[in-house]
């Protein structure tokens, strides 16, 4: 909460009532005849064409799924097919006014939106632009397939390109829009403004907000449409997306050109079912989905229900709403009423609805009804419409023939190139700035108070005599993070950072102190307490080309953004066929002292998910170097920090933490103390307790321990550890993560595999107990400490002379605990 906003008790305690604006429902009543003056004949017929194109595309897929052939061409498609037959007018109406720079995000049922937005973009692009896109997409490999023998103009070639590219993607062909790695539910084509479609219900509900944020922060042209289903309105991340998108600060705190609402339309494709659950009458209570707008902000999100069975009604709504967005009055909520005749998927027997209901909607079919209107308005004759339809059928046959031809449209050759998917998991870029333009900052870096303060600090913790400087004099770990992040803010104009308490507070742990003064609101701001939206928007922001640091204040809150961290962030680089980059650095702070829901180290959870880089530095030098590397890269990084050591000084890098920029490569562990008799490999802040153990081992038992700090865990180069093991033959692994399923176990297994013959004892893991984290006063019984490490060494690795164990590391105890699941 900024000081500039005074909460006046007299005001807020006053009696009154909240009034809502009316939410219009299906107000559009015009006919084609009435609209004739606003559209050209081509435009009106084009609307028909696009709807018919979608209908035939999905009919083709449907009959392939059901009968194994289309128009006599046999094919078996084992993959998914979530069809939107019946909803074509909603998709075409949505896309009609959108420009190429306007981005749409969708769901698993988005074939129609891809084709509608694709056709819309093709119509709006000039030939040069169109040619440029097609020729440069995957070096023209998709274009080359449809180019041969093409007769006609570039736009009709582009139409073939669009249909073929989408279909090849549905069939998982390498020539598809995403090299076949996205498939039916995730196909997209960013050059036409079609951004990722998401197979997680409501998945686009927060990601699309990030795209709008990108447009706003970076002053980019265009709006964003989040196509989400009526059932997704129940999803937490969608609500979080709505909350994030409607924050008052856009209007009240952001300044200049950045002031005003986000340019986004939440477009509810309301087909009235969530799988088989009826959203009105059964699974939701909103009755009219547009009602939700009233609960979100003062403008009720300019919500409106639109008759999605009439393309002109949707087109009308978009025209009005896009004007609102241009006036920075967004965001907007549209409830586009529609209906799908097709099942949720081909396995859907429609047992949840009556035949009569489906027939009643079919009787009002959007394409037939619109066609009739065209004829009655004298825009087109039945013959013309028939010709369009048969042309589309030919296009489908043509595209299908190509897309199922193994020679023309092969799948990825994992025999010839077994690592081709592996190579796509990370983009491995090294990019100073995501865009080359001046940065928005409030003052030069050297004028910053924090920068000046840090300049006076001791960048190595000890003086010449080895005596530590006072804590306040020491350059701390949080200073290392600050330097790396501030440096990037002054380099990369797209960089933004946000999360809970990131601005005026300076970050809950004072990493950002000083940045509030240096940066305008649109680069550093407080988010709602809504982790799904914090990460989800960051994903959308990065997809569009920005660099972002979202913050999760406590590691324990990662569960609140589980889908975003586990399903979205790690996947989109590879699922896009490496079209999309994901320069997102999630700062995650691992707590202590605060009990069971604020003290957990969940680095193991994210390390398990392919597609994320994970690091956990424990010294100022490592923190700065790794943060620089994370921010220079183009891959998603989960950057763990420990609240135990934000104030720790640099104890290892004797030259002190360099003031200059430097990078520490991911994956390279660091030997914090050399030794010969045993290796202790540690993750995170536990390294300091490992060093205490090493000291005691040396003093009391004459055992020289080598302490290795993993620093990062994905990626991880085992060579350092194996080299150490060659020397010592023994290894203990430790971190604050609960021991069961800890990443240390993975490391122990790898080490056993890689250096079995070097081992004089099994690798032993000392983690936290498999309990809740107890109160601070009881933490010594929960977190690893030097005593545990020494006892474990004595019990499992090498008996220590005259050592008396206090903790039970015997096999019998392991079995007992495992049996009980504790």
């Amino acid at each position: 909460m900024p000081k500039s906003q005074f909460i006046d008790p007299k005001e807020v305690r006053k009696a009154g009532k909240v009034q809502f604006k009316d939410i219009p429902v299906n107000q559009y009543k015009k006919t084609v005849k009435e609209e004739k003056s606003n559209f050209s004949k081509e435009e009106l017929i084009g609307i028909y064409h696009d709807m018919a194109l979608i209908r035939e595309f999905e009919t083709m897929i449907n009959v392939i799924k059901i009968r194994g052939e289309y128009e006599g061409i046999e094919y078996n498609h084992p993959g998914p097919a979530h069809l939107s037959i019946g909803q074509e007018s909603a998709a075409v109406g949505m896309a009609y006014h959108l420009d190429v720079d306007d981005f749409i995000f969708g769901s698993h049922r988005s074939h129609g939106e891809i084709l509608a937005k694709g056709m819309s973009a093709i119509n709006k692009l000039d030939d040069a632009g169109l040619k440029d896109i097609m020729e440069n997409f995957f070096e023209g490999s998709t274009l080359n397939i449809v180019k041969g023998g093409h007769i006609g103009d570039l736009k009709s070639l582009a139409r073939k390109f669009l249909v073929y590219g989408t279909l090849a993607e549905v069939f998982a062909r390498e020539t598809g829009f995403n090299k076949g790695l996205g498939g039916s539910m995730h196909a997209f084509f960013t050059p036409f403004g079609v951004y990722p479609n998401n197979a997680i219900v409501g998945g686009s509900g927060d990601i699309a907000v990030g795209a709008a944020l990108y447009k706003k922060v970076n002053q980019k042209k265009g709006i964003v449409v989040a196509n989400i289903g009526d059932a997704s309105m129940a999803c937490g991340p969608v609500w979080e997306g709505l909350s994030f998108a409607t924050m008052d600060q856009f209007e009240q705190l952001w300044e200049g050109a950045h002031k005003g609402g986000l340019p986004i339309i939440f477009n509810i494709m309301n087909n009235q079912y969530g799988m088989g659950g009826q959203t009105c009458g059964e699974t939701m209570g909103y009755d009219v989905a547009a009602r939700i707008g009233a609960g979100v902000n003062r403008d009720s999100m300019h919500a409106e229900r639109v008759d999605g069975y009439n393309p002109l009604a949707v087109i009308d709504a978009y025209k009005r709403k896009m004007d609102l967005l241009k006036e920075k009055k967004g965001p907007v909520l549209l409830d586009v009423l529609t209906y799908r005749y097709s099942g949720h998927s081909p396995s859907d027997a429609s047992s949840y609805r009556s035949k009569e209901e489906v027939e009643a909607w079919e009787a009002q079919d959007c394409i037939i009804a619109y066609g009739k209107e065209l004829i009655s308005a004298g825009v087109a004759s039945q013959d013309e419409l028939d010709a369009i339809k048969s042309d589309i059928t030919e296009l489908m046959k043509y595209s299908m023939t190509l897309a199922i031809d193994e020679k023309v449209s092969p799948r990825m050759d994992l025999v010839k190139n077994p690592e081709i998917i592996g190579d796509m998991m990370f983009s491995e870029g090294s990019v100073d700035k995501m865009e080359d333009r001046p940065v928005d900052v409030n003052h030069p870096m050297e004028e910053n108070l924090r920068v000046k303060q840090i300049a006076k600090k001791e960048r190595f913790a000890f003086d010449k005599d080895g005596k530590p400087f006072s804590k306040l004099k020491q350059y701390q770990l949080r200073d290392g993070l600050f330097e790396a992040i501030a440096d990037r803010f002054y380099k990369d104009p797209t960089l933004v950072a946000y999360g809970e308490e990131n601005r005026d507070w300076g970050g809950a742990f004072a990493v950002y102190r000083g940045l509030t003064e240096a940066l305008p609101y649109h680069r550093l701001f407080n988010s709602p307490i809504a982790e799904a939206s914090i990460i989800g928007t960051a994903i959308g922001y990065a997809m569009c080309g920005g660099r972002v640091i979202p913050e999760i204040m406590y590691c324990d809150f990662l569960g609140r953004c589980g889908d975003e961290v586990f399903n979205q962030l790690p996947k989109w680089q590879a699922m896009s066929g490496n079209v999309i980059k994901m320069p997102v650095v999630i700062r995650v702070s691992v707590g202590s002292k605060y009990g069971a829901q604020h003290s957990q180290d969940w680095s193991s959870l994210v390390a398990h998910i392919p597609g994320l880089k994970v690091c956990f530095p424990a010294t100022p030098y490592d923190a700065k170097g790794l943060m620089n590397t994370a921010l220079q890269g183009t891959d998603p990084v989960v950057f763990f920090e420990s609240q135990r050591i934000y104030d720790i000084g640099e104890q290892f890098h004797t030259e002190g933490v360099p003031a200059e920029y430097y990078e520490i490569p991911f994956g390279e562990a660091d030997i914090k103390k050399e030794g010969t008799d045993i290796t202790i490999l540690s993750i995170g802040a536990t390294v300091y307790r490992a060093l205490e153990a090493a000291e005691e081992l040396e003093e009391k038992y004459g055992m020289s321990a080598e302490v290795i700090d993993a620093r990062s865990i994905v990626p991880f180069n085992y060579e350092t550890v194996v080299a150490s093991l060659k020397k010592t033959g023994r290894i203990l692994l430790t971190s604050d993560a609960s021991e069961r399923g800890s990443f240390l176990k993975d490391m122990a297994q790898r080490i056993t595999e890689l250096a079995f013959d070097e081992l004089d004892a099994p690798p032993v893991v000392v983690g936290s107990r498999n309990w809740i984290t107890p109160a601070y006063e009881l933490e010594e019984y929960f977190f690893p400490c030097k005593e545990w490490m020494i006892d474990a060494i004595h019990e499992k690795i090498v008996p220590l002379k005259d050592h008396v164990v206090k903790n039970n590391f015997t096999n019998a105890e392991i079995i007992r605990r495992s049996k009980l699941g504790i």
Partner: protein, 438 residues
């Protein structure tokens, strides 16, 4: 309430015993009177019965552990009862004395550590870390014989390193050959500074690869070996042989056999009876030689060598001179039997307890031998078989007379030849004129 099983106390002087075997496994049901475990002192082996009904809940020692007497070694009770309170150290800590010895040894040599080796028995799993195994193979170390010091007795790298340090260096060739052919490394090589060369490796017979078997000595055997060796090293022993006319004792024996209900007095009993009589006349032989003094016994404490499965034992009959021959005979039978049973009081096996010893090999047909003195006793009588010898029967008549061979080994430090001879002769005289009630 669980009952603790302790290592029994065996005599005043026994500080600890070697535990040899549990007859029951942990978890087995135990009935009062069931044989529960076996153990040895330095003198004898024993078996102990369970004192309670119940289940053997836990044991705190293993075969070969040296356990102080009265220490807890196991618990009998009901399933589920805690045994924690009874736990003790199990095997005893090395005594101060032993430690002192080790320290002296460490000072004396630089290769301080004593490398314990064991005999690998077929089918034994060798617990060894991969690293130790790799090193052992590279250095041709017979790791199967090493006693591991790692967790759960695992052989770890330091055990192999210690073994390597304790052995002479091998030339690279010797190492290779030893590895390839599984040859044994000798203690001292013929190369520079004792380096073992390939030629020094002791080849095992390629046809009868292992034509021998090495067995660990039982404790009692070790003790006998030590005592016998010490005897020969620490005294001036020599043996006189003399024959005694056996007609009298054979005649007595015949009478005993003929008489129904008579005590079964054996020839050996008669010999011992005669020896007691002779000892009463020759106190110099009924004595202990203590180096600078001699301990003369007023009473005769007669030791009798007994052959048992466990090895040679010499139980003593205290105050044997107070006994009639039938009392003596009965007591001999009792102690011999308890030796064979392993239930003899260890006090009675001490060589300090006896003032003189008789060892009888006559039953086996031995005609002459040189028994070894049980120090600090000054002499021992060996009794041989009876053989007929030509003798002057008087009146120019010669005939065969049965003679019993007597072999007296004495410590020349304590006795002179004349005295010894007269004593031996006195035994013969006593035998030839033996009077007993039948």
């Amino acid at each position: 309430m669980a009952t603790v099983v302790i290592m029994p106390r065996q005599g005043q002087s026994v500080e600890s015993c070697i535990f040899t075997e549990w007859f029951k496994q942990v978890g087995d049901e135990v009935k009062k009177g069931d044989m529960l475990f076996a153990y040895e002192t330095d003198k004898a082996s024993f078996e102990e019965e369970a004192a309670e009904d119940g289940v053997l809940l836990g044991v705190f020692c293993d075969e070969g552990d040296e356990v102080p007497v009265l220490q807890n070694i196991g618990v009998i009770g009901q399933p589920g009862e805690s045994i924690d309170e009874f736990k003790s150290g199990g095997a005893s800590e090395p005594t101060a004395e032993v430690q002192a010895e080790t320290e002296v040894a460490e000072e004396a040599t630089t290769s301080a550590e004593v490398i314990e080796v064991k005999t690998q028995e077929a089918g034994d799993d060798v617990k060894i870390s991969p690293r130790a195994k790799k090193l052992a193979i590279a250095e041709a170390v017979p790791y199967e014989t090493l006693v591991g010091t790692g967790p759960e007795g695992r052989v770890i790298e330091r055990d192999v390193q210690a073994y390597i340090a304790s052995k002479p260096k091998l030339t690279p060739l010797a190492k290779e050959v030893a590895k390839q052919e599984g040859l044994q490394v000798v203690e001292q090589g013929s190369g520079l500074g004792g380096t073992v060369k390939a030629a020094d490796l002791s080849a095992s017979n390629p046809v009868y690869a292992e034509d021998y078997e090495i067995k660990k000595l039982p404790n009692i055997r070790k003790l006998i070996a030590k005592a016998m060796h010490a005897s020969l090293q620490n005294s001036a022993q020599l043996t006189h042989h003399l024959g005694a006319d056996a007609r009298r004792i054979l005649d007595l024996r015949k009478q005993i056999k003929a008489k129904e209900g008579a005590a079964n007095i054996t020839l050996n009993d008669m010999v011992c009876f005669a020896v007691i009589k002779a000892l009463q006349k020759f106190p110099d032989a009924n004595a202990h030689f203590l180096g600078d003094s001699v301990k003369y016994f007023n009473k005769v404490h007669l030791g009798l060598a007994v052959d048992t499965d466990r090895g040679l034992m010499v139980p003593v009959i205290k105050n044997a001179d107070d006994l009639s021959i039938s009392g003596l005979s009965r007591q001999f039978k009792e102690v011999a039997e308890s030796c064979r049973q392993g239930s003899i009081d260890p006090e009675l096996l001490s060589s300090e307890s006896a003032s003189f010893t008789v060892s009888n090999l006559g039953n086996y047909g031995v005609e002459m031998f040189t028994p070894v003195i049980n120090l600090p006793q000054v002499a021992i009588l060996g009794v041989n078989t009876i053989v007929p010898r030509p003798a002057d029967l008087g009146g120019g008549v010669y005939g065969f007379v049965p003679y019993m061979g007597l072999s007296l080994t004495y410590d020349h430090q304590a006795l002179d030849g004349g005295m010894a001879t007269r004593f031996l002769k006195q035994i013969a005289v006593e035998l030839e004129n033996l009077e007993i009630d039948i």
